[in-house]
Amino acid sequence: MPRRLRRRYIAVKVESNGEVKKEDLFYAIWNNILKLFGEYGASQTDLRLIEYNPEDNLAVIRCSHKSLPMVKASITCVTRIGRESAALHVQLVSGTLKSLKRKLSERIKKE
């Protein structure tokens, strides 16, 4: 058993016609993980929704380092959040929350 679990932080852009609630967003991703990889797969992801900013439509999700490909595939497969059709786009992936935020702000400055 490793001493410390390696994690990955994913910044996700949410695109939807309606208003998106934090819980709905989390369950949309969670349901896709369950559909694609089952309960065994979902148990390996250690998935958490760290924050969601409805103004920027930007969410930060945490998962285990090993499950990153599974989580990314599941995020891409989201087509519906709540009752609205939606799409999620992975913006950035980083090893720490601090570096993710730094990279995000650098990207915003560039744009």
Partner: protein, 246 residues
């Protein structure tokens, strides 16, 4: 930054507004070139229109025709008529005879199979062997993975895993395209590549399937369509006054 190409963007060509929106969105998502399937009739006029929209969006437009012949004879007739008119010819193989004929014909660039009916996906070892000799590529659309649910998606993923294994074994280039017919099915190139994990395509191969593989086909065909092309290996390098005196 990589040169990502979505070779199979399928907007409703009857609605110019929708076509424009989808092409602009593709540019925003990070694609540098898009291929839009044109109808066989009036493909020239539509190609001009879409090319203009792509220029405005800063994208390279790739003209493409999707053939869906009912038999091998029809396929040969269409190829004879259309090959020199568009940059990419893809064949949707709905029967085994068409699939085999398409795989052994050098004029076919892309083999494409029905995502909805897994029994009509005829990409087996024999097909792959023929395709590897003629340099035809296998195209995988990602949109069905997003909109299909339940056992239909399970069967598709399982079939794609088998096809990717066969394609790798026989060195058949794989192309990943969006196959999106509406805005909500468009994804970033990186996101499409991450879906490759579902059917055993590693990230490097998936990236290659979105950039290098389609680019190779386009460059090869643009060379062939240029007025300087004579035959395989023979090109006009100088003409008229450029030629040194005998």
């Amino acid at each position: 930054m990589k040169f990502f190409i979505d070779l199979h963007l399928c907007p409703n060509l009857e609605s110019q507004k929708e076509t424009e929106l989808m092409i602009r969105r593709s540019a925003e998502l990070g694609y540098k070139a898009v291929g839009v399937p044109l109808p066989i009739k009036n493909h020239k006029d539509l190609a001009k229109k879409i090319s203009k929209i792509c220029d405005e969006a800063g994208l390279d437009f790739i003209s493409r025709i999707d053939l869906e012949p009912s038999n091998a004879k029809e396929l040969l007739r269409n190829l004879r008529f259309l090959r020199r008119k568009v940059e990419i010819i893809s064949v949707k193989c709905m029967s085994k005879s068409v699939a085999r004929q398409a795989a052994k014909d050098r004029r076919v660039d892309i083999l494409f199979f029905s995502p909805l009916d897994v029994r009509k996906r005829f990409f087996d070892s024999a097909e792959a062997e023929l395709a590897s000799e003629t340099n035809a590529s296998l195209e995988i659309d990602m949109a069905p993975l997003l909109y299909l649910q339940g056992h239909r998606r399970i069967r598709l993923i399982s079939k794609l895993r088998e096809e990717v294994y066969i394609a790798k074994k026989h060195d058949v280039p794989i192309i990943i395209s969006s196959g999106a017919c509406e805005l909500k099915l468009l994804r970033k190139p990186g996101d499409l590549a991450s879906l490759g994990y579902l059917f055993g395509l590693d990230p490097n191969d998936a990236e290659k399937a979105l950039s290098e593989n389609p680019r190779e086909i386009i460059e090869r065909n643009r060379k062939k369509l240029s007025p300087n092309y004579v035959a395989p290996g023979i090109y006009v390098i100088r003409r008229g006054k450029d030629c040194p005196d005998g």
